[in-house]
Amino acid sequence: MSTPADMSDAVIDLRGVVKVYDTGEVPFTALKGVDLTVRSGEFVGLVGKSGSGKTTLINMITGIDHPTEGEVNVGGTPVHALNENQLAMWRGRTIGVVFQFFQLLPTLTVIENVMLPMDFCNMYASAERPERAMHLLEQVEMADQAFKLPSALSGGQQQRVAIARALANDPPILAADEPTGNLDSKTADAVFRLFEELVDAHKTIVMVTHDSDIAARVRRALVVSDGEIVEETVHRPRTERRGI
């Protein structure tokens, strides 16, 4: 399904993206020629059942996976044409990735996990990094846990840290794959509010979810089914809903 687009401020632009997995005797087509455009500052939800192709789609945007066919342009960069090293560097500076299972490195403390992307991408001066990491942890209300190991934190706390890590290099885009899927509803709500605040701060967020309640709260919800975007719902901006 094609999406309405004003190409002038598009930060994510997918054209005819096909992904085929070679799973043995019968190849499996996870994406069937997806076109998608996301504008700067949008909060987009990818909704669908398990196996529908939504994670594959977000992996195309983050460069975690490569398309079999088609083009993926993010922030003006042809992601599909980058090699693994270029992708890593580009991703570290352009997209913050948040996973369902948090994926914090178990041997690093909370603050060290947040500083790691700055270290890898050589962003910010070394002396500045702890201060910035602490500032991000304050934003996600985890500053008091900065020197603990991830194993000492609850799931919701780990996800907050993962969000802080995703913001480490101040990327314009955040990609989150089921960020609330492993959290209870109260914690999930808190994490979602954090995302809303980031959108207010002009970040572009693409989030995969199978939770219809969460999907109802994003600006644009795209329903993925059987490797295609089959439906799009545009909700009123949050400020409008609040009557601002």
Binding site: I64, D65, N85, A88, L108, L116, F120, A166
Partner: protein
Amino acid sequence: MSPRWRKVWRDLTGHRFRTLLVVLSIAVGIFAITVVMGGRGILLREFEAVYAESMAPTITFDVDAADSSVVRAVERVEGVRMAEGRRTFPVRFTGGEQPRGVLSAGWDTLQVHAVANIATARIERTTLEAGRSWPPGAGEVLLERSVNMMSEYEPGDVITVETASGTRATLNVVGLVHDINAFPAHFVAGPTGYVSMETLRMLDEPDYFSTILAVAEGEPTQAEASRLAMSIRDDVLISRGVRVMRTSVPEPGSHFLGDIFRGVSLLLLALGVLSLFLSGFLVVTTVQAIMSQQVSQVGIMKAIGGRADQVTWMYLVMVTVYGLFAVVVGMPAGAAAGRWFTGFAADLLNFRVTSYAPPAYVVALGVAVGIAVPLLAAIVPVRAGTRISVVKALNATGMSGTSFGHGLIDRALGLLRGLPRPVALSLRNTFLRKGRLALTLITLTLASAVVMSVMSVRTSILATVDEVDMWRFDAQFYFALPQSAEAVDRIASRVEGVVAVSSMPEYRAVLSRADGSESDGIDIIGVVPESDFVAPRVTAGRWLEPTDASAIVLNSDVVKSEPELAVGTNATFNLLGEERDFEVVGVVTAGLMGPVAFTPSGYLDSLAGGTGAVTRLQVRTPTSEPTEQMRVARLVEQRLEERSVPVAFTQTQSEQRDQVASQLGILVTFLAIMGVILSVVGVIGLTGTMTINVLESTREIGVMRAIGASHGSIYQIFVTEGVVIALIAWALGALISYPMSFLLLDMLETAMGLPLTFEYSWAGVGIWLVAVVVIAVGASLLPAFRAAQVSVRDAIAYE
């Protein structure tokens, strides 16, 4: 420290058990290399230094009598750098004071060297190791230090010696010296003693020289040295009326233990190279296991901006740190064990070690094995691990990275029906990670093959020792002077416990070659062809027959040094001062006796003037019990003494066997030590591999426990897996060990120039089977026990 290096540090320090295991796996390789190669390096360096310092003679003449003027004449010959004379002769000796008239059995042979001044001797130099009198005065003796490998002697002790003519004297032991040119006492069942020329007079021995030692100028070849020897013999010695009994020109720079030494050195080198391979595979296996554990973390790091080269460096630095730790652990341990090993070898081979410092190249090799080999080994798995796509890395779980059911082996295992489910699971688990299994199997197979080959080489050496035993006596007696055969046979046969006797003449001869040169001394032994006291192993031609007269059978040592001699040819020997022709009718195995030939005793006696004199007596007893043989031997010796038949040397069959075995036994001992070291490498390797396998399966263990598996079931699964791997490695190792042991023995034969009998050690295969199963059970039980203690929640969350 930046976060990524903190992660490296925490991975090292946080997983202490894993770090310990990896460090031990690498350290054991360094240890083996340092012991084996270091031991070899020190032995070669020290042996060569001590031997060079001793100034071994290029030429040795055994003469009837020569004085200082003859020695000076030899020294004046062009090409001779220096010459010295000494008197050497055997006496029998025993500890303590034994006045004349006291009959004492239990004498040993002492090879006496009478030297004008041992302290200033320029050839065959000795070093004082203990004592004060240097050189010894009249009535004093210095003993070669290897005497203590037989029985304890120290300065201040007294010995009684008795010469062949029956003169008995008491000598004070005033010191122990080291003489690298003297046969070690335990090799020839008798030490060497050094006395002054004054002491000769106390022993009623003439004070002229019986041996002239000469060192040639420069570094002549053996052929050049032989030409020089012939020139000295003809132009200096014979022309001055000196009778030359033997001219010895050994291969220049070659010590008489050179064959054994080369054998030991070659074995050490071969085993060192194998150790290097073994530790290399161990490291590859270990690093690959670590990488597969880290794969999801690699994915996370790449997902948040880490480049492949950044992540690669993190793991390479980690491997370098493992290597550094391993060097710190393995190198000193290896050096300490190498020190012990070298000391042990130096005692056996009787040479001094002035420095136990391992050669620089061994230190470099150890560091290379510790750091470079792990790094090289790590490059492939680390690059593969860090180049994996992010999506694949993130999707990796504990049970993954693997797919089961597609390959031929998988399908075959799937067809196995009726196995208990835990056993079936173990079998399938074994083949789940095929890359890992292949590496583990290569490591274990190599270790198994080496251990089993070492056992086979040992068995082959022992079989060779058995072959040496061509005589069928229980005790034999050597006479310094020829004795009546009839008399000694009669005396011996009347001793209680003697059931059969055989006496034989034996003379030292030299082969007169076609070109006029002479061979080294060859002992010609007269035997009764049909006697059952001798059981030769004929390798060419035939054994002697009763109708033979001038027939002669040579042993393979004679044929080796005189290749023109073959069955059917004629051999001319200078025997008892006359040239005698013999027809070579057969060749028998050498049996480590040195160059020996056999001819009918009647014929040999006729050549000696038909005196019926013999120089050797053999007896048989009804028992093979060594102590009983010894008792009877002492009784025979005593009876002979009582009837004025002085015995120079007595030897029981078990003593002779021990003496032969002690020479090849050095190799056997070295092999046993090497076998133990390599077994330890194998044990640590298997333990490491199994532990990593189990650690990697921690999440599976959690899943199994979550669905109701008891601790016992978990143990059973992993122990079965370990035993299956060990059994496969054992079977493959046994297959490889056959050609490997054949090859090792062949190399040993070439190095030592000694024919060895190949005998594959089936017992070794059995012993290693038991050992490998025990090791596998132990290696899997310990990590499985640790894993079973982890809670289900932690096990499932295990990274």
